[in-house]
């Protein structure tokens, strides 16, 4: 998994590439946590994310809970497989998806 971070004042964009599962989620969690401390807007660009398992969903949920208190989090460009996971788990209702 590769993560590209683009920071512009309070706005942080994370481009996630590869697979977000049990083996890659610890690294993703570390990156997200370090980015959201001073972010007011967090964008997760998932166009190059192949799939996500519940290990990754746990981090999306954690980030959403933090960001909703101090700004917003937006999930962008999820593919069909990722969108289906968001749908069956009800994450479509708790995330802002573009």
């Amino acid at each position: 998994m590769n993560i590209t971070i683009v920071k512009n004042e309070g706005k942080v964009v994370l481009e996630v590439e590869g697979r977000l599962d049990t083996s890659t989620s610890p690294e993703f969690e570390k990156t997200v946590k370090s980015c959201i401390t001073d972010a007011t807007e967090l964008y997760l660009d998932l166009k190059n994310l192949e799939y996500v398992s519940s290990a990754g969903l746990r981090i999306f949920l954690m980030a959403q809970k933090v960001m909703m208190k101090k700004g917003q989090m937006v999930v962008q460009n999820a593919n069909e497989i990722v969108m289906e996971i968001f749908e069956v788990t009800g994450f479509v209702d708790i995330l802002t998806i573009e």
């Binding site: 599962d21 049990t22 083996s23 069956v88 209702d93 708790i94």
Partner: protein, 146 residues
């Protein structure tokens, strides 16, 4: 991580240490096998998710601190148009089907992640069956190919 791969006509039998670190190799083996059988990329990725959910549970909870081995069988049947995945371990007795489904309609503040992995498995797969036999947990899931 060491992985032992037994190749049979329409199946792969894999033995690997029940550790989270085994997951990338495991998914790679299964993906290659499904790819050879012209299974769509979408279903390959869905099987990777299922393998991650089930195997990570075994890796985290089946053996506590001692090391253990898990056996995974991936079978592709062209006649039945289905993929069968079987996970076997001789760790603690554990029936994943007894886990309650999470309430996926709760608002974000009340959401937790417990039970979500197996819920995803049940949603992706068409059937799931658990048996405990001779000290082994055997969890079998089937995906019908449209």
């Amino acid at each position: 991580m060491e992985i032992i791969i037994k190749i049979e006509d329409n199946k792969r039998i894999l033995y690997t240490e029940a550790k989270v670190e085994s997951i990338p190799q495991l998914t790679e083996c299964i993906e290659t096998f499904l790819d050879e059988n012209n299974v769509s990329m979408k279903i390959q990725m869905q099987m990777n998710i299922v393998v991650d959910e089930i195997f990570s549970n075994i890796a985290k909870y089946a053996f506590d601190d001692i090391s253990g081995v898990a056996k995974i069988v991936c079978e592709y049947s062209e006649t039945n148009k289905e993929i069968v995945l079987v996970f076997e371990d001789n760790g603690k007795q554990y029936n994943p089907l007894e886990i309650e489904n999470p309430d996926v309609s709760l608002p974000v503040e009340e959401r937790t992640i417990g039970g979500l992995g197996l819920f995803v498995v049940k949603k992706i797969m068409d059937s799931a069956e658990y048996t405990y036999k001779n000290g082994y947990n055997i969890f079998k899931v089937i995906k019908k190919i449209p």
